[in-house]
Structure formats: structure tokens, C-alpha cells
């Protein structure tokens, strides 16, 4: 045997029979996510909240976070959050948005630098300084929200154009599901939500949709091939037909992402985590959410009534 199979040839997994369980589970998780957003909230990064972030490499083998916190909290700059970042010598300092004009924000950076130099010497290297003013952060937030919204609308339009409306509705439900659950996991774990996260969200949307479209393509093909088959069986068959590909692509993508997560450095670790989560949730949703919705929307009746509209457009 020169090659192997991830799944045996011609599986007959009755995916659709899990639809109630899957719907209940997803509904529950989505509900928790939605509940988390106004209560626990998202850990908004400076991109969306304004403020200052400084990454420093402290001299010696390990940074004394406690002492640094003591020094910086005495400056009267409001909340100063510290965490090690990547290696024990590297510390990420976040200073909340200061009252007053831009000058106040910039002065805060100088104050932090000065205080650190006084207490810990000159050998501190400032690896990164990021400052986002309140006006810019509001704009970035709006642009990010718009990007996600427009992506969903553009995709909806494309699917509508290429398939019947049921497919469009089903894929959008699956995408909203993915986005909501990703937001939920970010809120739950307190991961920083920033511009990169929005990029990750859009990539997740693209990936999940990619998966869903492959399944839907097969559903459409099978609808033409097996005119008498029950819709449940037909959807199950389509999912099984594409199962090997679905898993294979998830595995290769996850392999690459795992390499990025482990070796890609701390700056993009949260970003990579979001993508890994997205691949998992996107694969799940295209099997257990998108296809069952086709069943709920009673796809068969219409596509039989309009056989010509499903002729090959490509």
C-alpha cells in the first residue's frame, strides 16, 4: 500500500442523526458566549481601547514583575498591567488611557521609561512601544466591525448567487455561530482582542465557509444524481463523500498552524490560537450546523421544483 486513508473508504456515519444534540450543544455554547460578552466582556487591546503598551527586556535572567509593578503603580498612571511575554526576561506593560490630551499619553510613556531606568538600571531594552489615541481606537473598532459585517454580507451574496437561498442562510448561520463562539472563547480565556484578532476572525470566516461550500457543492451534485433519496440520507451521504477531504484539509492546516503556534514567537501566539480554534470550530460547524439547517429549511421541495436553476454554472 503506497498511501493511506484518514477515514475508511465509503464511510456511512449518520451525521444528521446527531443534529439535535449538536444544535443543543451549539445553542448552549452560543448562549454562554453571548452572555459572557456583556458580563465578563472582551479583553480589548489598546487597538480598540486606546492606551499604551510597552514591551521591555529586563537585564538578568528573570524580570522581577513584583518589583516592577510596585515601581510603576506608584506613578499615578491608573491601572498598569504587567505580564511576562514569551520569555522570563520579557515583560509586557500596559498603561491605560490617560485623562487629557495626547501629550498626557506620551508623557506616560516617558514616565514609565524613567521610573524603570531609575529602579532597574540602564540595561533595559525597549522592544516595542505602541500607543493608540482614543480617536484612532474608536475608528479602528468601527473599521473592524465593518470589515466583519461586510465580509458576512459579501459572502452571503456570493453563496446566494451560486446556490439556492437555503444554502446562503445555512452558511451564514454557521459563520455567525463560528464568530460568536470565537468571541466567547476570547472572553472566557481573557485573551487580548485586537486588530489581529479581527483578521483571525475573518480568516476563520473564510476557512469555515470554504469547508461548508465544499460540502454544499456535493449536496447540490447529489441532489441531481439521486432524485428519490430522502434528504436526510442525501445530506449524510454528501457529508460522508467529502469527509476525507474535510478532515485532510483540517489536518494539514492544523499542522502548519501548530508549527506557527509553537515556533512563531509570542507576538502572534494569540492570533495563531484564534486560527486553530477557528479551524476546529469551522470544521465542526460545516458538518453539524450548516448541513442540518438545510434539512430544517426543507431544501428538497424547492430544488426539485426548480431543477434547471441548479444546472452547472461553472
Amino acid at each position: 500500500m503506497m498511501s493511506f486513508r484518514l477515514v475508511p473508504d465509503q464511510t456511512k456515519v449518520p451525521f444528521l442523526s446527531f443534529r439535535k444534540t449538536a444544535m443543543a450543544l451549539s445553542g448552549f455554547l452560543a448562549l454562554i458566549s453571548v452572555a459572557l460578552l456583556p458580563t465578563k466582556g472582551l479583553n480589548l487591546g489598546i487597538d480598540f481601547q486606546g492606551g499604551t503598551m510597552i514591551e521591555v527586556r529586563m537585564p538578568g535572567d528573570e524580570a522581577d514583575i513584583g518589583a516592577m509593578r510596585g515601581t510603576l503603580n506608584g506613578l499615578g498612571l491608573g491601572e498598569v498591567a504587567l505580564q511576562t511575554f514569551g520569555s522570563p526576561t520579557d515583560v509586557l506593560i500596559r498603561v491605560e488611557r490617560q485623562e487629557g490630551e495626547q501629550e498626557a499619553q506620551l508623557a506616560a510613556v516617558d514616565q514609565v521609561k524613567q521610573a524603570l531606568t531609575e529602579s532597574f538600571g540602564d540595561d533595559i531594552s525597549y522592544r516595542r512601544v505602541e500607543f493608540v489615541g482614543p480617536k484612532v481606537s474608536d475608528e479602528l473598532f468601527r473599521a473592524g466591525a465593518e470589515a466583519v459585517l461586510f465580509a458576512l454580507i459579501a459572502i452571503l451574496a456570493y453563496i446566494w448567487f451560486r446556490f439556492e437561498w437555503q444554502f446562503a442562510v445555512a452558511s451564514i448561520v454557521a459563520l455567525v455561530h463560528d464568530v460568536v463562539l470565537t468571541l466567547g472563547v476570547f472572553s472566557l480565556l481573557g485573551l487580548e482582542f485586537n486588530l489581529a484578532t479581527v483578521a483571525a476572525l475573518l480568516t476563520i470566516v473564510g476557512y469555515s465557509l470554504n469547508d461548508t461550500v465544499v460540502v454544499f457543492d456535493r449536496v447540490r451534485e447529489n441532489l441531481r444524481k439521486y432524485k428519490k433519496m430522502l434528504l436526510v440520507d442525501l445530506l449524510d451521504r454528501s457529508l460522508n463523500d467529502t469527509l476525507a477531504r474535510t478532515l485532510m484539509t483540517s489536518v494539514t492546516t492544523l499542522l502548519a498552524l501548530a508549527a506557527l503556534f509553537i515556533f512563531g514567537g509570542p507576538v502572534i501566539r494569540d492570533f495563531t490560537f484564534a486560527l486553530i480554534w477557528g479551524v476546529l470550530i469551522g470544521t465542526y460547524s460545516s458538518i453539524f450546523i450548516a448541513s442540518p439547517i438545510l434539512l430544517f429549511l426543507n431544501l428538497r421541495a424547492e430544488s426539485v421544483a426548480l431543477p434547471s436553476s441548479t444546472e452547472k454554472a461553472a
Binding site: M2, S3, F4, D9, Q10, E55, E101, Q102, E103, L106, D110, S125, Y126, V129, E130, F131, V132, G133, K135, V136, L140, A143, A147, A151, A154, I155, Y158, L195, V198, A199, L202, T203, G206, Y207, L209, N210, V213, V214, D217, D241, A244, M248, T249, V251, T252, T253, L254, L255, A256, L257, A258, A259, L260, F263, G264, G265, V267, I268, L275, A314
Partner: protein, 527 residues
């Protein structure tokens, strides 16, 4: 699907070769590339500031200040026009884009309006709307067009001044561009300490020479006895007082400066300056008429020096001796040479990455890329066997080469998220091949001959590949349109990766596999 015209084969090979040639410069250090013959492609992928280190500063141009200043000038014009003609008025004031006043005698309204008509020097497209309400109140409002034009030119001018100031510092390859209506984006690679640049850009550097009002002391001014033609200004340290009263009238403006250099006088850092002809004449007249008076040098509303005029200075050059350090004297000289900003700039966003973090990120990205690539290639070869698996692996490698070539040709900027995008496309690029191979397996299973199975496999998978990739492409395009900086870098590599992976899967692997099929005519597919 398995027949290729020789023209198609030629194009596929040509694309791969062109890709290879254009991606090669990235393997060499930049200095080495510059010594290569000029007919070779030289363009390398631009590294974003997060990878090479540098500062990204987004500056807001205070355009409203310019409008306010314009309307204050109108207030002066109103006084100048109405007073000599005996038109009585009160409460002249500028607010936002309008200046208004009240006539003491409303019967003078027609005369006032007639005089004010001179404000509109351009008759075809007047700058001002002059409105009179309830007989006595007159409002002069800047028209929308004129206001936009004023703001626009303030931003353009600021852009020019910012460019000059940064060039003066001698930073390599800065990017200075306008962003949106009233913002300027400054990107300086490799700058370890952006504070110097921020200080340079943080001053409007309007310098004017005024006479000190020696009849009024600061204390008198504070108690309300400030003459109409004078103003109380804060003074730099070393001027003897915290505040100094100066005459409002500008004797010589900084606009007349042609040169300024840092130098030393009695071992103290000072700034020497030279006026143009007009400036030199004005400066000569003032110093001649006011020997023994004090001259105030006012920079951005602060008196930086107020020397006594010992003798007329007729040569058109002089020295500013203030409370300078070597550094601040040099900075002031730069500011004076580059000219004053029409409006104040504020930093609204800053992202500075040190070169060492950038280098760490590149190293980490390379590692992740190589390991991800090997993992995926081994997995593919193992999973689809030596023929199909290796064909997909070749496609994957060519895909990376093409992405590198595209990024070099487009001169796109590679950022850390961009590297993530490339690693992600390594995983996703095989998807198109997976779709085809799985389909071929299916067709072979239902008993089709190898050639028929491969043929149908490609035919059936094609539509799915296009549908699936277009959706991801939509996401990439939107990311590019709405994203900024690093995120755009991610969108670019993702988009390039999708396009090239469609080419390698649909054209290249198909060519490889069909060639193999025709050569070896297998009875069974090793897939």
C-alpha cells in the same frame, strides 16, 4: 482535462521560471543584490516595520486651528476696513469658521456690508458669505469650499514640512504620506528612538521677532493694565522673568529666514540665522530704530530669548542665544531651516518596534514556516503516495516560490501577520489538491480506469475549488480594504497564496500527473 496544448505547457513552465527568477533576489543580502548585473530582477520583499524594526507615527493635523487663525485675521480686517470709515461696531470675535460683530448703529449696515465686500478678493468664487441678521448683527462665514481648500492646503504644507524636517535628520528611507482628510503617516525604519522625531514634529516652529514692551511690566499686565497693542507671553528659563510683555506687531517673521545653523558663542551652544533680502532690510530697520530696546524672539508663543539691541544689525544675520543645549540648538536650527508648520501636529498613534524584536520575529517566522512546510509535505507524501503526494509537494514548493515572487514584484510589505498568512497558506494550499485527489479516489473506487478517474476527478473538483477559493479571496480582499499596517500584510500574503495555489493545483499538478499517466500507463492508481 488531461490534454495540454504545447502552448499551455509552455506557459505553465514559463510562469514557474519567471516566479523562480523573481523570487531569487530574496535569498541574497541586499548589498550583494546591488552589485548584481542590472538586467536581473532586483526587487526584494519589503519587510514591514514590525520585522525590520522602526517607528510608525500617525499624526493629526490641527486643521481647525488654521481656520480659526484665518477668521481671526478676518477680525483684524474688519477693524481695518470699518474704523477709518467711521462705522461703529462692537464685539468682534472669531469662532470656528465664522467671525461676527454687532453694529452700534444699524443704519450703517448698508455701508458696512459694502465695505466688507472687499474681503472677497476672488469675485467668481467668494471665500466668505456675509450675512446680516436683525439689522445689526453681521456674520462673515467661510464658505464650505474655501474651508476645505484651506484645510487641504494646510495638510499638504504640513506634509512638505514634515518631509523636510525628517530629511534634515537624515533618517534612511522614511515613508511620509497623507492619510485621510487630515492625517499624516510617518514610517521610519530602523529608528531605535523615535522620541527625537516626535520632538521635531511636535513643534509648529513659528518664530517671529517682536519688540519688548518696556513700558508695561508683567505684574501690570496681570492686573489688567495690558495695552491693546501688547501681549503677555511666557518666557524660557534664564530670561529673568516667567513672563514678558511684548508688542503684538511682528517686526520680522521667521518666514524670511533662509538658513539657520547650530554654533557656539563663548562656549555656549547658540543658533545662527540668516535672513533673505526682505528680512534683512526689515531687521536692519528695526535694529536701527530701536537701539537699546529689547528684541523678543518668540517661538510658538514662548519668548526664547530677549536680547538688548546694542547696535543696528544690517548684515541680515544674527544669533539666538537662549538656554540651549547642543542638542536643542541643533533641533531649533533644523526646525528653522525646514520652516514652520501651518498647524500643530499631534501623535494619535505610535507603534515602535526595536530591531532586535523584529529580528526575533523573522527568525521565529522562518522556523515556523520551515517546520510547518516539512510537516505538511511529509504528511502529503505519506498520505497520497509517492506519485500524487510528491506532485502535491512540488506544487506546494512552487506555490511558495510564486508567493515570494508576487510579493517581490508587487513590492508588497511583509509583516509578522503576513508570515502567519504564508504559513497558513502552506496548510490551505494543499486543499485544492486534496479536493482533486479525494475525488480521483472516489472515481477510481466506482471502477473507472485510471485515466478516466483522473480526468473526471479534475473536472468535478474544479467547480468546488473555485467556489471555495473565491470565498476565502473575498475575506482577504475585505481584510485588505479595511485593515491597516500589519493586517494588510496578512491579507496580501493570504490573497497571493490563494491565487498561486489555484494555479499550482489546477495547472501544475494536473500537468505533472497527466504526464506521468501518459508515460507509465498504470493499471491501478497509486493514490
Amino acid at each position: 482535462m488531461l490534454r495540454f496544448s504545447s502552448w499551455t505547457i509552455g506557459s505553465i513552465i514559463a510562469i514557474c521560471i519567471v516566479g523562480l527568477v523573481f523570487s531569487l533576489p530574496n535569498l541574497f543580502p541586499r548589498e550583494q543584490m546591488e552589485r548584481m548585473p542590472s538586467w536581473l530582477p532586483h526587487q526584494q520583499i519589503n519587510l514591514g516595520l514590525d520585522l525590520q524594526g522602526g517607528s510608525h507615527l500617525l499624526l493629526d493635523v490641527g486643521v481647525d486651528v488654521v481656520v480659526q487663525e484665518r477668521m481671526e485675521a478676518v477680525a483684524d480686517d474688519i477693524r481695518r476696513l470699518l474704523r477709518p470709515e467711521g462705522v461703529k461696531y462692537r464685539g468682534v470675535g472669531a469662532r470656528g469658521d465664522a467671525t461676527s460683530f454687532t453694529l452700534v448703529d444699524s443704519s450703517q449696515a448698508p455701508q458696512a456690508l459694502d465695505l466688507l465686500r472687499q474681503l472677497n478678493t476672488n469675485v467668481v468664487t467668494p471665500d466668505f458669505e456675509i450675512v446680516e441678521t436683525d439689522g445689526a448683527r453681521v456674520e462673515i462665514r467661510l464658505t464650505e469650499t474655501a474651508a476645505t481648500q484651506l484645510r487641504n492646503s494646510a495638510v499638504q504644507q504640513s506634509l512638505e514640512i514634515v518631509r523636510r524636517r525628517i530629511d534634515e535628520v537624515g533618517t534612511r528611507e522614511p515613508t511620509i504620506q497623507r492619510q485621510g482628510a487630515a492625517r499624516i503617516l510617518v514610517q521610519v525604519p530602523g529608528e531605535k528612538n523615535p522620541d527625537a522625531i516626535k520632538r521635531l514634529l511636535g513643534q509648529t516652529a513659528k518664530m517671529n521677532f517682536h519688540l519688548v514692551d518696556q513700558d508695561t511690566s508683567p505684574a501690570q499686565a496681570l492686573s489688567g493694565n495690558l495695552p491693546a497693542g501688547s501681549i503677555l507671553l511666557p518666557a524660557e528659563e534664564g530670561e529673568g522673568a516667567d513672563q514678558i510683555v511684548v508688542r503684538k506687531r511682528i517686526e520680522v517673521s521667521g518666514e524670511n529666514l533662509v538658513n539657520a545653523q547650530p554654533t557656539y558663542q563663548q562656549n555656549q551652544p547658540v543658533v545662527s540665522f540668516t535672513f533673505d533680502n526682505v528680512g534683512a532690510r526689515k531687521f536692519g530697520n528695526v535694529t536701527k530704530d530701536h537701539v537699546n530696546d529689547r528684541l523678543a524672539i518668540v517661538l510658538d508663543g514662548r519668548v526664547i530669548s530677549s536680547p538688548r539691541i546694542n547696535e543696528p544689525i544690517l548684515g541680515g544675520s544674527g544669533i539666538i542665544s537662549g538656554n540651549f543645549t547642543v542638542e536643542s540648538a541643533n533641533e531649533l536650527a533644523i526646525l528653522l531651516r525646514a520652516g514652520a508648520l501651518p498647524a500643530p501636529l499631534t501623535v494619535v498613534e505610535e507603534r515602535t518596534v526595536g530591531p532586535d524584536l523584529g529580528a526575533d520575529s523573522i527568525a521565529a517566522g522562518k522556523w515556523a514556516g520551515v517546520i510547518g512546510l516539512i510537516a505538511v509535505m511529509v504528511f502529503m507524501a505519506f498520505y497520497y503516495g509517492p506519485i500524487f503526494g510528491l506532485a502535491a509537494d512540488v506544487a506546494l514548493l512552487v506555490n511558495l516560490v510564486l508567493v515570494a515572487a508576487l510579493l517581490s514584484m508587487l513590492q508588497a510589505t511583509l509583516t509578522l501577520p503576513g508570515i502567519a498568512g504564508i504559513v497558513l497558506t502552506i496548510g490551505m494550499a494543499v486543499d485544492a489538491n486534496v479536493l482533486v485527489f479525494e475525488r480521483i479516489r472516489e472515481e477510481a473506487r466506482v471502477g473507472k480506469s485510471p485515466i478516466a478517474a483522473v480526468d473526471t476527478g479534475y473536472r468535478e473538483a474544479m467547480r468546488t475549488i473555485i467556489d471555495a477559493n473565491v470565498t476565502t479571496l473575498i475575506a482577504a480582499i475585505l481584510l485588505y480594504a479595511f485593515g491597516s499596517g500589519p493586517i494588510r500584510g496578512f491579507a496580501v500574503t493570504l490573497g497571493c497564496g490563494i491565487v498561486t495555489s489555484m494555479f499550482t493545483a489546477i495547472m501544475l499538478t494536473r500537468l505533472l500527473i497527466s504526464t506521468w499517466l501518459r508515460r507509465s500507463r498504470p493499471a491501478m492508481l497509486p493514490v
